[in-house]
Subunit: 357 residues, 2 copies
């Protein structure tokens, strides 16, 4: 128990403590500036050298404010400006723009850490994977939770048989998006910019991806029901989504798996109608609940906030570039989520289960 | 972690699963009838065969009500009645009567499980130890917590260095005695029957004894302050007690100890002015809180109530009689608490620290 607690925060993935990855941050929204930027600055293996935004003025202003060497526009980025100043890009723009920055980064031989969902459509996600493959540049999708201590420890415990054979996973994720960002024209509410325009893209993906990671399995079919309750928002009303996925097929391409029996999971209630919880992916506290028999254990990890979560992710990404680590979750892993999300929308539209490859 | 949770309830003391200890229960208050009796009945190694009370009528009535073979009076017990029907006695009378039942049990060659505090005075406790020693009958004091899973696990963790070198212990225990038992003439409020008539006897002893068990150390000096706040009760007003004890001396007689550096602990706030917590020693839930660095762990053990606690204690006692286990806490251990309690009252009276042997 003492050893388990002491290694609770251990970086099982760490292969090096040396070197620095210099980042260009692309898309300077609040997440990039308020969370990602300070996370890199306090990380062991990263530093921010370039900010990339809609205009040179905005980029240089934010660079000055944050004591960053360079600020360039999107156009300048595509033209290869300051390419000697960074080794990797962090893409934090609206989903539908991810591909173009990844393509330019690949041309410039830069590693890519791309926010999730990796693009707005499966087709564009496939192009991103192909482009980075062809250019042989590393591509990672920024799910973050793969380096969260409670998720890592839970995954180890599941692999160790803590749960026995999992038969069901329940995920719950809500966000009062218009209370957080009171703008009905924001990009997450725009189907063209976010993809589908549903909360599955920015909320449901957490439950889907976390389940895949924890169980080391992929769904072989999914079924979804989507209900819109609020009519006031123009492009994307609040939605409640029920997702059931059949996880019978083991994933064999990138994970070392034991053969699994047929299982199902339900990942439920992704919607815009929030409770007063922390917004999705912005953990204010980070806890792990375990139960076996009559004994239940709650692990609280109070210092682990959103910035610390990002710090772990950036150090993991940098470790993969500088050391010997296997990059995960890569573009193929992100693409699989895009296919699942597409199938979920297909299922909701058709009112029947949809099989996945 | 999985193994730790799975062995959370383990009976590290268990040496046998076979045999039965037949008990005579002496003193049929609510604790004996409502907690101890069902605990023995649901234990693995015990059964109740005789009830002993102030009159034959009361004893036989309660025996009938509870489906017990025999009921006898205190006088009949002292005369050796039904002595073939039981192997051990459980003494649950007011403190000042413990000795006489232990003496008779020793004469009859019966093992003794005696409620704590073991007697009303040090001198009578010494006589109990001497009597049981001379008759070579096992004597255990019924502190209960030594077989509680959270206490056992905490003790192992402390021995394993979980806390480093302990520097302070804080104990808190309150009880609204007159709300529980609204009788100003009850024996716990009677100095002659309980010993001193203070809450140190029935509440403070928990913190003192648990600290000794957890740290495997005994105090070398104590200091106490006792304040009475309620004046309405005739014999024993409500008291707040502050106890500070110097734990420098290691206990070497019955425990395997590492040498310890000078340490202090404070065991505070034993009083009759209760909060709305469960009464002392009647755990409604049983949890363990652990912290190291930024990580804190809470272990809940929901099925573990007062009856289950007693069941563990009775099985432990029976295991010592039937198997190879070392009986602990024995009479000498209980006597040490009596000496500590005497020194605490001495200190409160004199207003200065009091050294212990």
């Amino acid at each position: 128990m003492r050893d388990w607690i002491d290694s609770y925060e251990k970086r099982a993935w760490q292969t090096t403590e040396n070197g620095t990855v210099r980042y260009a941050l692309i898309g300077l929204g609040w997440w990039t500036i308020d969370v990602a930027l300070p996370a890199i600055e306090s990380s062991d293996l990263g530093e921010v050298t370039v900010l990339v935004s809609s205009s040179t003025d905005k980029a240089t202003r934010l660079a000055d404010e944050n004591d960053i060497a360079g600020g360039i526009s999107y156009d300048e980025f595509h033209d290869g400006a300051a390419a000697d100043e960074y080794d990797a890009v962090y893409v934090g723009t609206p989903n539908a723009y991810h591909l173009e920055y990844a393509e330019t980064a690949a041309e410039l031989d830069k590693a890519v850490l791309c926010e999730k969902p990796m693009e707005a459509t499966v087709e564009r996600a496939e192009r991103m994977v192909a482009t980075c493959d062809a250019a042989d540049v590393p591509l990672m999708i920024a799910y973050r939770m793969q380096t969260d201590p409670p998720v890592q420890r839970a995954r180890e415990l599941i692999a160790d048989g803590f749960l026995g054979e999992p038969v069901s996973v329940y995920g719950h994720n809500t966000q009062s998006l218009l209370e957080m960002i009171p703008d009905p024209d924001q990009w997450r509410l725009d189907a063209d910019l976010s993809g589908y325009g549903t909360s599955v893209m920015d909320l449901g993906i957490y439950s889907i991806n976390t389940t895949r990671f924890l169980l080391r399995r992929d769904p072989i079919s999914v079924q979804a029901e989507m209900v819109s309750k609020s009519r006031g928002v123009r492009r994307r009303p609040g939605r409640a989504v029920f997702v059931a996925a059949d996880l019978r097929r083991r994933r064999a391409d990138d994970l070392d798996l034991e053969p699994a029996r047929p299982r199902r999971y339900a990942s439920q209630d992704h919607g815009n109608r929030g409770t007063d919880r922390a917004p999705a992916g912005v953990p204010r506290e980070c806890s792990l609940h375990l139960s076996r028999g009559d004994v239940s254990v709650t692990v609280e990890h109070r210092s682990f906030d959103a910035e610390r979560e990002m710090e772990e992710e950036f150090d993991y990404f940098a470790d993969c570039l500088l050391g010997d680590g296997d990059l995960y979750p890569d573009g193929r892993h992100g693409l699989q989520d895009m296919r699942i999300i597409e199938a979920l929308h297909d299922s909701a539209e058709r009112g029947e289960p949809v099989a996945l490859e």
